[in-house]
């Protein structure tokens, strides 16, 4: 699948020389000319709003009176500190992010290893693995609501047919709602992780595998000594990204439970969305966004530290 890109890899070593080769055409006005069309919208519609958003967190901006906003210092953050509902939702966000990312990774790793084998019907699995990825999150949510539907859903019908009881209303049960949405999260994000890991697998040198096999290494040993070391960078990167994406996710849970029952699935994004666009508390919601980005930054910093350490170990 990736052979085209893999064979082109040696090109990388030649790039620095190539850059020299094209350079002696005077100062790089050309480069800036090429860069500006992208830089401008990025600055105006991405970096700008991000900074503006951080600034809003220190104001009492509300949807009704956005112009006459007053600077309130760290008041929003102080309020946030005592907002138990927010910290509940923060905790739910962490449970959700970890609860989705970890099983998703393990399942995706298993599938990627299978798809890397010469199995019949593997094309079917590859094709199917695309489906959740291509679907709008809203549709994924709707689809699983049909599956979880207490009466007409296939899940309860299967439970009834297996004689395991009557089934239940999974999405409205206080105890079952969060696990139920986590399962959907795992399903929805698995393909992307699988594809990334599969790509990583196909970059591991096959000769090493054969050599290890000839030396009598079993499947598990080969995985630990050959596959995993080669896969580790991709695995760490995709896991960090998945944690961040999941922590920031919105649409899936909005459609599945809209944060219910009783706030048991109210992810931080849902909380901040309601605060901003239902109650109009722009400043307060922006402060929530700041806390979220701070949490995520810690995660990024941690994974970078690990990566640097890993580089040293080598």
């Amino acid at each position: 699948m990736s052979s085209a890109t893999a064979t082109k890899r040696p090109g990388r070593t030649r790039t620095p020389r190539a850059a020299h080769g094209t350079r002696p055409r005077g100062p790089d006005f050309g480069a800036w000319f090429l860069v500006l069309p992208a830089l401008l919208p990025i600055l105006v519609l991405s970096v700008g709003p991000l900074l503006y958003g951080i600034a809003l967190a220190f104001t009492d901006a509300q949807s009704g009176r956005t112009r006459a906003t007053g600077w309130v210092g760290t008041l929003n953050f102080q309020d946030l500190l005592h907002d138990t509902l927010f910290w509940d939702s923060f905790r739910i966000g962490v449970v959700w992010a970890v609860g989705v990312t970890v099983p998703q990774f393990l399942l995706a790793l298993g599938l990627a290893l299978l798809l890397n084998q010469k199995l019949r019907f593997r094309w079917l699995a590859r094709a199917l693995a695309i489906v959740p990825w291509a679907m709008p999150e809203v549709v994924v949510g709707i689809m699983w609501r049909l599956v979880y539907n207490p009466d007409a859903g296939i899940l309860n019908e299967t439970i009834r047919n297996l004689g395991l009881g009557e089934g239940r209303d999974w999405l409205s049960g206080l105890a079952t709602a969060l696990p139920a949405v986590i399962l959907v999260g795992v399903w929805a994000g698995m393909p992307q992780t699988t594809v990334a890991l599969l790509a990583g697998l196909q970059n591991t040198p096959h000769e090493l595998h054969e050599a290890a096999a000839l030396d009598g290494a079993g499947a598990w040993r080969r995985f630990r000594t050959v596959t995993w070391p080669a896969l580790r960078p991709v695995a760490l990167a995709i896991t960090a990204l998945n944690l961040i994406w999941n922590f920031n996710s919105f649409a899936l849970v909005y459609v599945l439970t809209n944060g219910g029952p009783g706030g048991r699935t109210r992810l931080p994004m849902l909380f901040a969305y309601e605060e901003a666009f239902r109650y109009g508390q722009f400043g307060y919601a922006a402060a929530m966004g700041c806390v979220m980005i701070a949490a995520v930054s810690v995660l990024i910093a941690l994974s970078l530290v690990r990566r640097l350490k890993g580089d040293q170990d080598r």
């Binding site: 190539a18 080769g21 860069v35 549709v139 054969e210």
Partner: protein, 280 residues
Amino acid sequence: MSALRTSRPARFGQYVALLAYLVFLAFPFLWLISTAFKPAPELASLHPTWIPKDPTLANFRQAFDEQPLLRAAANSLVAAVAAAVIAVAVATPLAYVTARHRGRLASAATGWVVISQAFPFVLVIIPLFLILKNLHLINSVLGLVLVYVVWSLPFALWMLTGYVRAVPAELEEAAAVDGAGRLRTLVSVTAPLLLPGIIATALFAFVTAWNEFFFALVLLKTPEKQTLPVVLTHFLGAEGVADLGPLAAAAFLATLPSLVVFGFLQRRITGGMLAGAVKS
């Protein structure tokens, strides 16, 4: 594969595992399709079946009657096509520069790609909402397109940089030696080789915009402006009580375009992700 002979029980285990994955991946989607074609009485039955006994298209008709699906699809189409075309037009030159010149600009671009993945969108959407409101672009597809362009830029840049790196710089050098100017080289040597990558990136940006929900939910207020994912949620009703059949029918229809595009793209996207990932 020659030296790695898998034992028979192991092979068997692999097929069992593969089957389990197939079932897990497919069953919700099959259930969606099954529900979409079931007549109302079957949907009300307490013992639902996989295959509709009396398949019908009534749900599709009812879905179109209940919600402005066609207009929503048109809105989605306009937003997604415009976003994809603009994003790629803007990202390609930047990707070219980041791929060929390793300098401060290139690392800044890469850094921004990484950081943008971590944005909690709520922090960005509030200022964007205020900015677009001042520009009178709330409840307008144009405003949404602007947001989508910026939003899909990081990934477009990521993919395209990989594709540019895959074009051997020697070809450009050769053209330069032959006396072609920079622009000439770009247009007649690099661009044609880059075209498949550009198309793949554009299609990917299209699908992302077609599927997007959060920005559309916040920025589009009236039903006649809303995109397909937002209109789909109207089927859920206020108390979450839904008319299952039309809901399933509409949801199934909304998936088809991105499914078709993704089917085309499967190989290219993996290649693009790879190119971006391993070469940065």
